[in-house]
């Protein structure tokens, strides 16, 4: 029994980090119908900002998170304005290919020796590891930090989307951006804000990831990005609670497959679940089907 609970906690740790990345995919898709493949790499930049602020400047943890958030937000807004905005009215496939291009650019540009460099860096722990035993179950303060920070981010996001004027504008643009624009909503601003908000969460996710799995390199965003994207699709892309649920399912299924079957099947089964859900409900768990607008 405690083995099972222990594995659930392992799965939660992974799922929460996926959730922070998945939210960025889902929010951007909800608004501009674009799968932002560069999102995983923004997450990587967040982890590197964490690495530098902890190792070089030895900033306190709160300052590390803030600088990762600011750095990623600025980067994402820049990407949106330079790469996606000029293609806003182009066919969707053009934006999608641009997104892949931006992703590859970020990976290979940062792996130049003059930037971050093509190496693996060990991520310093900003605090000593403490573990607590509780009925044979082991919880570390790393896991506690991940749980707390993620839940805090989710609450904050919920507040922004449902309790602020900007949130209302986001929902309006997501519903129908032409009409929202006619009603006086500054659509370009809202889209930039959404990219920034998603990237801010990815920045937090990057730092948490670095703390939990203390090694970073410039290609580290690819796999978590893919998994988080899958999670967003699983939950119903464009839907915020769906992304979180999808991420938790991904985290648990990966962990449980390793725990009770064989780790060799881990990624395979996670994606089989995705295929099954999509066969049964093509829009994802919480997704609503949307008729094509004329």
């Amino acid at each position: 029994m405690d083995y099972f609970v222990q594995q659930v906690i392992n799965g939660l740790q992974l799922g929460f980090v996926y959730a922070l990345i998945a939210l960025g995919y889902t929010m951007v898709y909800g608004i501009v119908r674009l799968i932002n493949f560069a999102h995983g790499d923004v997450f990587m930049i967040g982890a590197f900002i964490g690495l530098y602020t902890i190792e070089r400047f030895q900033w306190p943890l709160a300052a590390v998170f803030v600088s990762a958030v600011v750095g990623c937000t600025v980067l994402a807004v820049l990407i949106e304005q330079l790469a996606y905005r000029p293609l806003r009215h182009a066919p969707k496939i053009a934006s999608l290919i641009t997104a892949i291009g931006v992703s590859l650019f970020l990976e290979y540009f940062t792996s130049l020796r003059q930037v971050f460099g093509p190496h693996y860096y060990s991520f310093p722990r900003p605090f000593p590891v403490v573990s607590w035993h509780w009925y044979g179950i082991l919880v570390t303060n790393i896991q506690a930090v991940i749980f707390l920070v993620t839940i805090l981010c989710l609450l904050l996001l919920q507040f922004i989307v449902f309790r602020t004027k900007m949130g209302r504008a986001m929902r309006a643009v997501s519903f129908d951006y032409v009409t929202a624009g006619l009603m006086g909503v500054n659509v370009n601003m809202v889209i930039s804000f959404t990219f920034g908000l998603g990237a801010a969460l990815a920045g937090v996710g990057g730092v948490l990831y670095g703390i939990a799995y203390p090694q970073v390199n410039t290609f580290m965003g690819f796999m978590p990005g893919l998994k988080a994207f899958t999670a967003a699709v699983l939950g119903g892309i464009g839907n915020i609670p769906g992304a979180v649920l999808g991420a938790l399912i991904m985290g648990q299924s990966e962990t449980m497959v390793s725990a009770y079957l064989s780790s060799t099947y881990r990624d395979g089964i996670a994606f089989v679940i995705l295929i099954l859900v999509l066969l049964w409900k093509p829009t994802g768990i919480f997704g609503t089907s949307r008729t094509e607008k004329v």
Binding site: Y3, Q6, Q7, N10, G11, Q13, L14, R113, G117, P118, H119, Y120, S122, V129, S131, L138, T140, I142, Y209, A212, Y213, P214, Q215, N217, F219, M220, F222, M223, E254, T255, M256, S258, A259, S262, S263, T264, D267
Partner: protein, 394 residues
Amino acid sequence: MLRKSHTEKGKLVKRNLFIPVLAVLLAGVFPGCSKSPVGKEMKIGLITPLSGDVKTFGESVKNAFEIAIEEANAKGGVAGMKIATFIVDDRNDPTEASNAANLLINQHGVKAIVGSVTSKATIPVSDLAQSSRIPTITGTATNPKVTVADGKRKDFMFRACYTDSFQGTVMAKFSRDELKAATAAILYDVSNDYSKGIAEVFRDSFARMGGEVVAYESYGKDDVDFSALLTKVKAAKADVLFLPDYYNKVGLIAKQAKEKELKAKLVGPDGWDSPELVKVAGDAIEGGYFSNHYSPEDTRPEVVNWVKKYREKFGQTPDALGTLVYDATNMLLEAIQEAGSDDPVKIRDALASLKGFEGVTGKFTMDENGDPIKSAVIIQIRDGKQKFLQVVNP
């Protein structure tokens, strides 16, 4: 089906014609080229990972290679030829390694290659070297497939290190006899020939010696979350945890193992040999054991000389990988000397018949597969440093 066999047959016929025609052409174009090597230059290539996940290996290998070549050139060259070198980075990636070999052979026109460092990068290099008939020696790639594929010997491939089967057996025996382990868990990288090869040998030998393998689990190259696997290993109550991988991954796993409060002793192969390991893992790797090719603490004159030479030039102690490549390069140079020319076939024959070559990492005699017969050492990590424990003979 019928169509396919037709094209295959066509290809076969073409190839059969191609080689003799090429041979005739070459013979015509370069008459007696290899007969008068005096004042000539011979090109040797090095393939090594200078970036990516095992860059410390690549750097020490490059240093060692350069020392060996400099020494040879200072003595007036080999068989009357000055040695010119070309060094290419493969980032520890099989595709890059294959590109690197292609570049060296077809663009730079090298006559012999040293490299690459890891097994997964060396296997594609070995195939290319074999089909281009360029004698190639790797200092460090331990997977059996480097010199033999599907039971067929790649006769232009050689190595200066023992193979995974020897290494896996040595560590299984050490775990059983010295660490008195009854149970073992193994975590390996399923996408890495080196990791997979040693894991299989360790599993089989540990079981044959009466131990029980309680967990045999794999992970992918880019995996960083080992919490599920380590919780499983902990529940299985393994006495030793065998980690056949390179220092970066091992450091990451060791760190998480400590957080999960695993009691198992950590044991591994030569991929652990990097100062980075302790940097990544911190005290999580303390007390771990691994097999290696030599120890800088050895008092044999060859070792003392080599460590002194390397320290003077680069300000640090040479690791085993660099040392092996120093031996590999010297073996190749000796074979060229013996062959008396840069003719690939003659160099190959000289390498294959090498006997009793005195290297830094021991005495070499090539077996029929181009694998040397030599001893291993076991090293323990104590106070963040590598401590020499014992020598194991084959």
